[in-house]
């Protein structure tokens, strides 16, 4: 075997240094802050005090779960229908699906709010039709709607990627053997696209549970989610520790749920990314 050249041996070194300084070290700081008091001494009090935030965790998990389930229910049929179209139409629809992902979440949420708001387009439309105004912004429904609207493409795309890789002959074989279209869907398409479903669920659940802009804008400031709490605690230096503890717990919760999810799918992790 020939000797490794200088450039081969050291090409990854700047990256490794960068990773250590700006990825690993910051996480060490999160752990450090989570386990120290405001005076810098070691303590478990931040973690122990987290029970005060229990209702926030429960609310966030509920909102994120409902949004994820809705995304799956709306997104799976869309991905399935898309995967059965002509290749050219499929390509165009994929571009259309990715476009909103590149538009800032801020802009999309703000647009949605502009329409649903009390003085917004929806209410003036309803009024001109002679129907009473509706208050949507500031309800749990609005926050969940915002999550579904913002993150739906992240659910559809990985599922579509899985489905479009399926050999069309599987469907034909199922049909030839007497399965109805519905049965083919449940016995062939869904089990074989499970890796895409899993990665879709992760890609919707993680941003939903950690959002703070959606709940601020569409929740009218009435709902405190984990993201809102972390954001608030980090505005004030004396509460960095509790903020770090909440972040740490959320990170661990997410890691555990992702690990559990991945056990359900035997596919490799490169399945269905969002990369162009």
């Amino acid at each position: 075997m020939r000797k490794k050249s200088f450039i081969e041996g050291f090409a990854a070194v700047p990256h490794i240094v960068w990773l250590f300084l700006f990825v690993v070290l910051p996480l060490v700081f999160v752990v450090y802050f989570a386990f120290t008091g405001a005076d810098g001494s070691f303590s478990f009090s931040n973690i122990a005090n987290l029970s005060r935030y229990g209702h926030i965790f429960v609310l966030s998990i509920c909102f994120a779960l409902i949004a994820t389930v809705l995304c799956l229910l709306i997104g799976y049929p869309l991905a399935y229908f898309m995967s059965r179209l002509k290749p050219k139409t499929q390509k165009m629809l994929v571009v259309l699906l990715m476009l909103p992902m590149w538009i800032s979440l801020l802009i999309r949420t703000y647009s949605l709010m502009a329409i649903l708001d009390n003085g917004g387009l929806l209410n003036s439309l309803l009024e001109s039709l002679g129907i009473t105004r509706v208050h949507i912004v500031g309800t749990p429904g609005a926050v969940i709607l915002g999550m579904v609207y913002d993150f739906l493409p992240y659910m559809v795309l990985p599922i579509y990627t899985s489905l479009s890789k399926l050999d069309i002959r599987y469907y034909e074989a199922a049909n030839d053997l007497g399965a109805s279209n519905a049965k083919t869907l449940f016995k062939v398409a869904i089990p074989l696209s499970l890796p895409g479903v899993i990665s879709g669920i992760t890609m919707v659940f993680v941003p939903s549970i950690s959002t703070f802009y959606i709940s601020q804008k569409l929740g009218g400031g009435l709902f405190d989610l984990i993201g809102d709490t972390i954001e608030r605690e980090f505005q004030n230096k004396s509460t960095y520790n509790i903020g770090a503890a909440i972040s740490l717990v959320m990170m661990i919760l997410i890691l555990i749920s992702v690990a559990i999810m991945n056990r359900f799918s035997e596919g490799d992790d490169s399945e269905g990314g969002i990369i162009v």
């Binding site: 090409a11 990854a12 910051p26 700081f29 990715m98 538009i103 801020l106 802009i107 999309r108 990369i275």
Partner: protein
């Protein structure tokens, strides 16, 4: 099934695009209202371009997107090469796992973790770090890195190994082989990584929210601050403009992608 598909697909796509299209339409609304349209005007665009904070934010955003994506692409490309050449499997596996952390972690955790690091760094005397430009460049480079590596590394892995070996046999030094053979082959991946980093940087709000300072605002931070309390119609104009820019960038990325493919087809 077919009929259902015909109705369902357009319905979802219309719902997905409706809010954005409406906001773009109403950004041209003379009335300055979201409830009725009074006539076409560029009032809000004019107001936007007179706002110096907005222009400064635009300048900062572009500066940041260029600088961070170039640094991330440079580090990431060499890193992808290093990972590709690495013979210790556990080491390359470990590096790839750590690389993916900023992509897997919720943005808010990445944001606060970097903020804690910078708070600690600022408190060290003689270290010339302040919140603002520098911390933003570091943060944006960090979250762009995994995406650069993800678009460059597969190009190395799909590359024809024999070409490099031929170059070496014909007397190239490994460094020369890298610049003459390997780099041109992976160039499309590098370009799409660069564009990806650029777009991600322009887009980012959550991480920037934690590592920036009031005197270094980017466009998303500016939108956030402007829309915190009241509705501002010039913000709709800004949103519309940003959507157009993203559209143009996306077409550019796709164009770069097809350019690489055409080249490959020609060589084959």
């Amino acid at each position: 099934m077919k009929v259902l598909s015909r109705i369902y697909i357009p319905l979802i796509f219309i719902l997905l695009y409706l809010p954005i299209i409406i906001v773009i339409l109403f950004s041209f609304n003379d009335a300055g209202s979201m409830s009725h349209f009074e006539g076409f005007s560029l009032t809000w665009y004019a107001e936007l371009f007179e706002d110096e904070t907005a222009l400064a934010a635009l300048g900062n955003s572009l500066y940041l997107a260029v600088v961070s994506s170039v640094i991330a692409t440079a580090i990431g490309t060499f890193a992808a090469y290093g990972i590709y050449k690495m013979r210790t499997r556990w080491l390359s596996g470990a590096i790839r796992s750590v690389t993916n952390i900023p992509m897997m972690n919720p943005d808010i955790v990445t944001g606060v973790s970097m903020m804690l690091l910078f708070v600690a760094a600022v408190s060290i005397p003689f270290l010339p770090i302040t919140f603002g430009r520098l911390t933003m460049v570091i943060a944006h480079t960090t979250f762009s890195l995994p995406y650069v590596i993800l678009s460059v590394l597969p190009r190395f892995q799909q590359m024809d190994k024999f070409q490099t070996e031929a170059a070496l046999d014909l007397g190239c030094t490994p460094a020369k082989a890298f610049f003459k053979v390997e780099l041109p082959t992976v160039l499309p991946g590098i370009v799409s990584g660069l564009m990806l980093g650029f777009t991600l940087s322009l887009d980012d709000f959550v991480i920037s929210h934690f590592v920036s300072s009031p005197d270094f605002q980017t466009l998303p931070l500016y939108i956030y601050n402007q829309t915190a309390h009241q509705v501002k119609y010039s913000m709709y104009a800004l949103c519309a403009l940003m959507v157009f820019v993203i559209l143009i960038l996306l077409f550019a990325v796709n164009f770069a992608g097809t350019l690489g493919k055409n080249k490959k087809a020609k060589h084959a």
